[in-house]
Amino acid sequence: MATITEQPPETKAKASPPVNSQPEAAPGKTLVLGAVFGLIFGFLLQKGGVAKFHVLIGQLMLVDFTVLKVMLSAVVVGALGIHFMHRAGLVELHIKPTRYASNIIGGLLFGVGFALSAYCPGTGAAALGQGNYDAIAMMIGMIGGSYLFAEASGWIGRHIDPIGDRGKLTLHDVIPVNRTGLVVAFAAVLVIVLVAIETLGGR
């Protein structure tokens, strides 16, 4: 408390926003909660087999559809649940902004990198957990890629992000019909896609 009087001149001397010498940590409860969610997520990814090299590459080679089955069924369940919870005022939505240039270039780079490494960021952590040690190189590469991005982010923010910036665009803005009807129809379409994958013989 007594040190408060000494703080103003010090903060003035540091004109740039303060970068703490110690990494900040979120409150303990938040961290424990994150770990619990991660444990369940990693457990499920491993049990689904989607952290395995042959399953991931098999999906990209279009001979094993396990990855799409897991993802689409998660999206169906998630979309219905989150929509009704949001309607009931229980949850906030977290929509990522649509910026066409960034989304498109990001998607292209991600796709090439995904095929090269075979594990995506989440399944890479799970692959390492189940004993795929090549994922260690992948973790280091991901930190490197993230660091490079941070170095380039000022330029990207000025020159790339503004191209085709549409803000928090969703399907509801594109198709302005009843929100619940749209979510249910959307889920139904994904179920049809899943049934089609299953009947057309994807593993």
Binding site: F37, G78, V112, G113, G129
Partner: protein, 177 residues
């Protein structure tokens, strides 16, 4: 029937259901979508600060996004241990450096595989940071909110991934998978 936790493989639909329900709880209790990218952003910021503090201090990006141990950091740590537990209980341990399919196509070189994993992952994370999400953040958490950004990103990365994999492994690779 046996203990399901000891089984090596669950139905993909059961796993999808589980991840979907998990996303409800993530939104409800933590007010966070399930996403992996953010942890690497925080991780890179912390390492950058440790290795080159002056560089990090001058970086406009790190001054906005303070390096920290976050919910997302613990999520990634949790994913590692969750997969470790799952595979240990069921005996489904991989214990390999060079995956079999990779070896068939590109040979047994450990350095070769690690190089591809390193640069592939770097490219992937740069793309994920640019688009603000990965397979989890956009592919599941974003698409389920019907976000346009997430659908554009997910369709493109899947398409590009398919083309790249077919170029890398060729039509022959299909029979080996």
């Amino acid at each position: 029937m046996g203990n399901p936790f000891l089984k090596k493989q669950w139905s993909p639909y059961l796993v999808g259901l589980g991840i979907g329900v998990l996303s409800w709880f993530a939104f409800a209790t933590a007010d966070h979508p399930l996403g992996i990218t953010t942890a690497f952003e925080h991780g890179a910021a912390m390492i950058g600060q440790a290795i080159a503090p002056t560089l990090a201090e001058n970086n406009e990006y790190f001054s906005e996004e303070t390096p920290k141990i976050s919910w997302e950091t613990m999520l990634v740590v949790g994913v590692f241990f969750g997969a470790l537990m799952s595979s240990a209980w069921s005996g489904d341990r991989e214990k390999t450096v060079v995956p079999a399919i990779w070896e068939q196509r590109f040979g047994p070189s450990v350095a070769g595989r690690l190089t591809a994993a390193f640069f592939g992952a770097g490219l992937m994370m740069f793309g994920a940071r640019l688009a603000q999400g990965c397979t989890s953040g956009h592919g599941i958490s974003g698409t389920l909110q019907l976000a346009a950004s997430s659908w554009v990103f997910s369709i493109l990365f899947f398409g590009t991934g398919i083309i790249t994999a077919l170029l890398m492994y060729g039509r022959k690779g299909v029979t080996h998978v």
